[in-house]
Amino acid sequence: MTAAQSSTGYAETTAETKFEQAPLAHLSVELGHLYMEDFTLGFDHLVEHFGRVAPWSAAARTLTKERWGVKEPRVSTCFLIDDYFARLGDPKDIIDLVMEAADKAGLTIDYIARESGCALADGVDLGRLVSDRLVADPTPSTNGSRPPTNKTGWLCNGRRSPDAAAAPAMSFGSWEAPEQNAKNRHSIFLDVELWDGRGPERRWSLPFLAAIWQLLRLGLLRYDGRLVARPQDAGDYSDDWSELPAVMRMNPNAEPFSAYHTFSVLDSRFLEIEHATRVILSQVQIQKQIARQIESRSLGERVALPKEIVNRIEYLILNA
């Protein structure tokens, strides 16, 4: 909302929040999203992984030029390590392992991020920031009479089956199907758990963290207008994962971490996760000031930018 613009031009600085701008690449390429089980398989396994990813990463870079007519595309690469669900070994060992394996496959990793950093980044509660911005996909006949029921830690894309316990009149064996809101003749109904646990003990689910990860890569999150999870130079590694920055810049010459579009090469075992992530992202409200800020940047650079967040995200799903 604009402060009153009188002819004397009086305005108060606290009336408007200033929104920091993130530097933006054209494309953010995710080279991997790995878990403890992947690391225990050893160095060669990692090299094999990066070898599979490498040609697609190169293709993405080339296509950025062709798709958006950009002569010198700004492309950055990133890699996500799960330190949220697993106990990992020494950070320095694992990070060095990953960097060497990528190098051997001819890939440069510009940024390494921690999965925990998607929940709590440098002191900012990103989990709450995003969960507070969920705006549910309404079922038909949602007219605002009743408050939205988003408190249960689950999110779906339609109308759930009625609860049998709540409707004892239903005879045995009768089942009313759930229904996807925007179905294409038939439903693909998805119900995803966002978190379990209570209060400060909330443990965010993988699809939810993956949604935050995409929002960070798209530069769409601010806390009171300030940037969150700003990439920091790797520096000396602490031996405690939680003391490392949420996003570490490994390559001093890297293009910006955030970008207009993201591209991720994923193992097929993540297909369900990404479907769930997409259902979540379809229900996250982006602050309009941030959306407008990025939109006007894209217009300035003549980069085509889809209005819908989910349409800025692309994947390649590969089998191992």
């Binding site: 909302m1 604009t2 402060a3 009153a4 613009q5 009188s6 002819s7 009086y10 108060e12 606290t14 009336a15 408007e16 929040t17 900012v124 509660d125 709450r128 920031l129 507070d132 911005r133 705006v135 549910a136 996909d137 309404p138 079922t139 038909p140 006949s141 949602t142 007219n143 605002g144 009479s145 009743r146 408050p147 939205p148 894309n157 809101n181 925007a182 601010r222 806390y223 009171d224 207008g225 992202l281 379809s282 229900q283 996250v284 409200q285 982006i286 602050q287 309009k288 959306a291 209005k307 819908e308 967040i309 989910v310 349409n311």
Partner: protein, 312 residues
């Protein structure tokens, strides 16, 4: 562009004017999005917008069926630490593909409803102002009421208001970017429908929706102040009590309300004609000034009576 909304105004449920700090606390219910506040000409703080999703029939005058899908935006405000408002707004536009799209499409907008099916604009605009919409249709009042409740139930308030003052509701529709007229015909625009419901029709040339929302909030505030003051005056002066007791009943108005009257303080110039038209008819400030004068007269008479009374 067609826009509509509702503003509900009530007395903040706190015994004294809320400090700026407590007002900011009460309004700070969206993580990571600050409360906007200004101190001049009068303390004014606004929460972040919250979106409510809908997929339902929209109310029309003819009771025809139009489906609307999208979001309404609402926020809460605290003015002068004394008055609370819940304000909801949305724009309405026809769906380009005339079907229910995936939800991500609607979330790309902010407070935007897309209609599926044909309608006549006038029919919809009148329908949105109906005091008695059909039950399953869009319930703007419920959304707005919940936003105001969010503030009134805040732990930052002591819930001991200094006087009883019912909420009023202002439901509005606006035609923006409308080259037809610069301002609505005065008198027809603003209607007092019931004790608590008012409606407003606006036609503005510009496209600044935020300014229109601010205008409606300002109008709703001043209408509530006037309604409340007239009610206090009426109760006090028609009661069968001594002059002193009557004056005592006017005290809460003096302490809490009189200083809040500041019409059009935050309205951009292009919308001032709307206020000006309403000042001509029905004449808010005229009624206010007359009521304030009456209060002051009562207090003066009361003081004179005290001075004249025999002392020992």
């Amino acid at each position: 562009m067609l826009a509509f909304g509702e503003v509900q105004t009530g007395l903040l449920q706190n015994s004294t004017a809320l400090s700026r700090e407590r007002a900011l606390q009460a309004l700070n219910f969206v993580t990571g999005e600050s409360v906007r506040h200004s101190a001049r000409p009068i303390a004014h703080a606004v929460s972040a917008d919250r979106l409510d999703s809908v997929d339902c029939l929209l109310p029309t005058a003819s009771r025809g069926h139009i489906r609307g899908v999208g979001t309404l935006a609402s926020h809460a405000t605290i003015v002068g630490g004394q008055v609370a408002q819940g304000s909801t707004y949305a724009t309405i536009l026809p769906s380009a593909e005339n079907r229910r799209m995936p939800w991500s499409h609607y979330l790309a907008g902010h407070g935007q409803i897309e209609t599926i099916g044909k309608y006549r604009r006038a029919d919809l605009m009148t329908g949105l102002l109906r005091p008695d919409p059909d039950e399953s249709t869009l319930d703007t009042s419920a959304i707005t009421g919940r936003m105001l409740d969010t503030i009134q139930r805040s732990a930052s308030l002591d819930r001991r208001p200094p006087l009883r003052a019912p909420r009023t509701r202002l439901r509005w529709v606006a035609s923006l970017n409308d080259g037809a007229t610069a301002a609505t015909a005065p008198g027809e625009a603003f209607t007092v429908v019931t004790d608590e419901l008012r409606t407003l029709r606006l036609t503005v040339r510009g496209e600044d929706l935020d300014a229109v929302v601010a205008l409606c909030e300002d109008l709703a505030l001043h209408d509530w102040l006037l309604t409340t003051l007239l009610s206090i005056l009426d109760t006090a002066l028609t009661s069968n009590r001594s002059r002193n007791q009557k004056t005592e009943r006017l005290r809460p108005a003096v302490d809490h309300l009189l200083h809040l009257w500041m019409p059009a303080a935050r309205i951009p110039e292009e919308l001032l004609p709307v206020w000006e038209a309403l000042e001509r008819h029905p004449g808010f400030s005229r009624q206010w000034d007359a009521s304030v004068a009456r209060i002051r007269d009562q207090v003066t008479m009361s003081t004179l009576a005290l001075l004249e009374s025999p002392t020992d």
